[in-house]
């Protein structure tokens, strides 16, 4: 009986990814609610941001998810289609929200979330460098011209990032979607890109700027203005006197640059256990009382209109600036097709900025690619023939296996203990390797969209392998990527072996002092986690601030834009991976060298062989058998070396340096969750490596015979 009240009481679980003051403010709101509503308590659970949406889509359909969760509004369309969220009934309180933050939470005329806060970009500026922020782009350009100097800028932002560029696109009158159809090649869009290109060509903004670099420039006073979101305040160094203002008016159109607006909202999860209590709390959290706590303690730009009458919020210089920007924002489209926009447009921006295409040509390409990926939806196919084929195959395999087993059954019975010992390993292998493989392989026969898998037979493979959709010269083509991957593998393994063997031979020299020290130093690249190395090298290859261009400039060589051309970008990846890979070959070679008797070399020396001839005729042939397995393995590792390609060049330029695995990753996670297509890529990668290992086995068998 004691437990009865607890069972009757509703308990609401809320997921969020807040940290710091936002998290503390949220907890304050929850505490306030729990004090007044002891029978409808709320439990706020912080979930790491990185895996947030994956966790949602994994937990909610299985009933393990929260009742409420906090997320940006952009995926309403997606989540609605995949049944992750429920409709929220409209109520009289809804007038209390700022309309800009409330309207975008509808999909098909139905409300799906309640707005918590809005986040958009705005103009950050250093008060010590300019008293009054520019209100038009002409003013901005004039100021930037005046400030321009060696390593100094009046203005800096991530020019190649579409998230930032969208503000200009809207300022020039362009739209991402026109009547629900992507329209990235409109004359307005082209004008906006031309505008940025002019800024770049006049060196009014730094090229290839990354988020980290911008923060550094701004903090050091080498950039007087930047475009950034509210999160940027946390990155400004203490003591920097800064202000926030609206983005300027585009002088050409007279329209204010309008950044994308992201509305942090609270969603009612499908299968929520206590949806009524959850909704009541959601209204409290988003309503004036909850919002006031969040605005004042969590410093959020809240969606509740009433709070903006409070002078503590209204007169806050930062919150107030974002509030003033709000009317000139465009809510990020929440249709599923938005996911297909980013990559092609970013590629187009980069292509333009490095001078590889005109704005018009690049945007037309991007538009074509977006339309193609939207129309690529294959027709569903009956799985029956495949099921029959699979059934027949299984039947044949079963008959074959049982026949073999029958003849060996007597033997197997005798070795029962041996099978028992093998069982744990065999079972864990089956669970960890074969089951995921089978799931992955069967996924390649499906098309995925918005959480729904449609059986389409071999169409993914046909689309990848036929040249109908993507010409062979396009970096997205399977054959192009396969060629790059093979080139990548061959170049890497060759350099690994040459460098590893040479260094091992040097280290073997008994006259070399401090041999032990060198050996340890040379193994270090291998000991450092490779993503750290990759990020260091990426930094070193930066066009403007990287160490490599710095070194080249000492010799009077003009800075190279490493990731703008296939050859240099490929070379950057190669340099990084060679740096990571040679120690392994060196260690293998050192081991193999220690097993070659010294007398063989001495005998050869007496036989009249020079040092080079001894190496060529005695040492290298004797190293071969030891190196061959490492080369075979190394080739497989390099073939699938995702980290380096993804982190260093990121496929730049235009996906040309992507290898098969990173391409597969992009199909799955960048280009609109095409899991089936990516799985088909994975199956093809598997087949290529099966062929390779068959070849390699023949090669090493031949070696063993010799």
């Amino acid at each position: 009986m004691l437990f009865a009240p607890a069972i009757l009481a509703a308990h609401v679980v809320l997921w969020h990814a807040y940290r710091g003051e936002e998290e503390r403010a949220l907890e304050h709101v929850v505490k306030t609610w729990n004090q007044t509503h002891p029978d409808e308590t709320v439990d706020a659970v912080a979930v790491p941001y990185d895996a947030y949406s994956q966790k949602l889509s994994a937990a909610i359909p299985r009933g393990n998810g929260p009742d409420l969760f906090i997320a940006a509004h952009e995926r309403i369309g997606d989540w609605r289609a995949s049944g992750l969220i429920q409709q929220v009934p409209e109520s009289a309180d809804d007038d209390g929200y700022l309309p800009e933050t409330f309207t975008p939470l509808h999909d098909g005329g139905k409300l799906f979330a309640l707005p918590l806060a809005f986040k958009s970009l705005a103009l950050f500026y250093r008060r010590d460098q300019l008293a009054q922020p520019p209100d038009t782009t002409d003013e901005l350009i004039a100021f930037a011209r005046q400030k321009r100097g060696a390593g100094k800028y009046g203005f800096a932002y991530e020019t190649a990032d579409f998230f930032y560029h969208a503000a200009w696109l809207h300022g020039f009158g362009g739209k991402i979607f026109d009547d629900g159809i992507p329209r990235l090649d409109s004359p307005e869009a082209i004008r906006s890109v031309e505008f940025v290109l002019a800024l770049d060509r006049e060196h009014l903004v730094p090229g290839d700027a990354t988020h980290v670099l911008i923060a550094q420039l701004f903090n050091e006073g080498n950039a007087a203005m930047t475009i950034a979101g509210p999160w940027f305040t946390g990155e400004i160094a203490p003591g920097v006197d800064f202000g926030v203002a609206r983005l300027p008016i585009v002088s050409e159109t007279g329209k204010r640059a309008a950044p994308l607006l992201s509305i942090e909202s609270v969603f009612l999860a499908a299968r929520a256990a206590s949806s009524q209590a959850a909704l009541r709390f959601a209204h409290f959290l988003t309503g004036a009382d909850g919002a006031r706590i969040r605005a004042i303690e969590g410093r959020q730009t809240v969606a509740a209109r009433a709070v903006w009458d409070d002078p503590r919020v209204k007169d806050d210089p930062i919150l107030g600036a974002f509030y003033r920007q709000l009317p000139d924002t465009i809510a990020t489209p929440s249709v599923p097709a938005m996911a297909l926009i980013w990559e092609p447009v970013q590629n187009a921006l980069r292509k333009v900025l490095r001078g590889a295409a005109t704005p018009a040509a690049a945007l037309h390409d991007a538009q074509a690619r977006i339309m193609a990926s939207i129309h690529l939806l294959p027709t569903p196919v009956s799985p029956l023939p495949y099921a029959i084929a699979l059934g027949v195959f299984c039947l044949v395999a079963l008959i074959y296996l049982s026949r073999r087993a029958a003849s060996r059954l007597g033997q197997a019975r005798k070795q029962r203990a041996a099978y028992a010992y093998l069982a744990p390993a065999a079972i864990s292998m089956a669970i960890l390797v074969f089951v995921p493989f089978a799931v992955g392989a069967s996924m390649s026969l499906y098309h995925h969209q918005a959480g729904r898998f449609t059986f389409i037979g071999l169409q993914n493979f046909i689309s990848i392998l036929s040249l109908r959709e993507i010409p062979i010269t396009d970096p997205l083509s399977f054959y192009f990527t396969l060629g790059v991957t093979i080139l990548w593998t061959v170049a890497n393994v060759t350099l690994h072996v040459i460098l590893g063997v040479s260094l091992a031979l040097l280290l073997r020299n008994p006259l070399l002092k401090l041999r032990g020290v060198y050996r340890v130093l040379l193994i270090i690249p291998w000991a450092v986690p490779n993503y750290i190395t990759a990020l260091i090298w990426k930094g070193m290859f930066h066009r403007q601030f990287g160490a490599i261009n710095g070194l080249l400039s000492l010799f009077g060589i003009a800075p190279v834009s490493w990731f703008s051309h296939f050859a240099t970008s490929f070379a950057a990846n190669l340099a990084t991976n060679v740096w990571l890979g040679f120690p392994f070959m060196m260690v293998v070679t050192l081991g193999a060298l220690s097993r070659i008797p010294k007398e063989l070399e001495e005998a050869a020396a007496l036989d009249g062989a020079s040092a080079w001839e001894r190496l060529r005729h005695i040492i290298l042939p004797l190293l071969r058998p030891a190196l061959l397995p490492s080369v075979i393995l190394g080739a497989v590792w390099t073939f699938n070396m995702f980290n380096i390609v993804f982190l260093v060049s990121g496929g730049e330029p235009d996906g040309a340096t992507d290898i098969l695995v990173s391409q597969a990753y992009r199909w799955a996670f960048v280009r609109g969750s095409r899991y089936g297509y990516a799985a088909a890529y994975a199956v093809l990668i598997f087949l290529v490596l099966v062929i390779w290992s068959a070849l390699a086995r023949r090669l090493s068998d031949k070696e063993a015979e010799a």
Binding site: P597, L600, E602, A603, A605, L606, S610
Partner: protein
């Protein structure tokens, strides 16, 4: 073929001095054996000659040319290693041909010379095998063939027979002697086995602790060891050494040269007999070797070995004498004292 000269060669590894100034002349066609206990520096000396070790001081001269600073490849010497050091990835034929190929010998000549060497060492059926498919004795032959085929100025052997079993070793010794006669080549051979040294050498150089003890023909070393070390090292069984005091007390010897500390006598110079200088001995152990036996005798605290055709029974007491002509006298430092015996043999040697 060539003469070879080692001139005051010194060599040390860190604090350890390996060679303390070795000088040695090797005549054309000579079979010189470097012998000594392990660690005496004989292998190091051979490696110095080959050019595999650098000298601290001194010189190596081949055919009148100083090669001290030359690379091994420029000295034109061939070496047979203890481990054979056959190239494992090459067939026997390729192993033999390697040195010729490196020296840019015309292919047709390589073929004939490989065939010739293979015939000489009876390894023709093995030519297409890899070293791992050969027995120890076959590898040994291939290693020698690899040296022979080169026709070098001199052959260097570093304990080449020590990895073979006893019967094979005996066989290979004969083979080596035959080879030396056929090629009439200069050969330097390192071993710790004095039997090998005695049977193979035209001249033996005995080394101890980095120093030459004596250089001479096997006969000279056996008959006139320059010191106690050589006396004990050369010959089986070891030479008997009798302290001078015991020799006097037992009256085994008529007269001792001045300064004698030890009297040496070989087993074959200990006889059963009576008369002047006879001593009463007890037979402790008899080692039967077939046509002769080694008899271990004891006279008080003194132990002697005698070589006899008709050994007395174990436990028997017998009277023994020493052959006066077979006595060797050594002073307190172990050096030989020249006596009338030496003069007599010197006269015999000089006709």
């Amino acid at each position: 073929m060539a003469t070879l000269s080692v001139q005051s060669v010194k060599k040390s590894h860190g604090a350890a001095t390996i060679l303390k100034g070795i000088s040695l002349d090797i005549a054309d066609g000579e079979f010189l054996v470097l012998v000594g206990p392990s660690g005496c520096g004989k292998s190091t000396l051979l490696r110095c000659i080959a050019g595999l070790e650098e000298l601290d001081s001194g010189a190596i001269v081949i055919d009148g040319a100083n090669v001290t600073q030359s690379e091994p490849r420029d000295r034109d010497l061939a070496m047979v290693f203890q481990s054979y050091a056959l190239y494992p990835h090459l067939t026997v034929r390729e192993n033999l041909a390697f040195g010729l190929k490196m020296r840019k010998t015309p292919p047709s000549e390589i073929v004939t010379r490989v065939a010739e060497a293979a015939r000489m060492l009876e390894i023709e059926p093995l030519l297409d095998r890899l070293p791992k498919n050969l027995s120890g004795g076959q590898r040994q032959r291939v290693a020698m063939g690899r040296a022979v085929v080169r026709r070098p100025k001199a052959f260097l052997f570093d304990e080449p027979l020590s990895n073979l079993d006893a019967s094979l070793r005996g066989q290979m010794r004969i083979e080596l002697m035959r080879l030396h006669r056929q090629l009439s080549a200069t050969m330097i051979y390192v071993t710790h086995d004095q039997v090998e040294a005695m049977t193979l050498a035209t001249r033996i150089a005995v080394m101890k602790a980095g120093e030459l003890q004596q250089v001479g023909t096997p006969d000279e070393l056996y008959q006139h060891p320059a010191n106690q070390f050589v006396a004990k090292f050369i010959g089986t069984p070891e030479m008997n050494l009798i302290p001078a005091d015991d020799a006097r007390k037992l009256a085994l010897v008529h007269s001792l040269p001045d300064g004698t500390a030890q009297v040496g006598v070989r087993a074959e110079d200990v006889h059963v007999g009576h008369g002047v200088g006879a001593a009463d001995a007890m037979v402790e152990v008899v080692e039967h070797l077939g046509w002769e036996a080694l008899v271990h005798l004891r006279i008080g605290a003194l132990a002697l070995v005698a070589r006899m055709k008709d050994p007395p029974a174990v436990g028997a007491r017998t009277s023994i004498t020493l052959d006066a002509a077979g006595l060797h006298f050594f002073d307190g430092t172990g050096a030989r004292i020249f006596s009338s015996n030496d003069r007599a043999s010197a006269q015999r040697a000089r006709p």
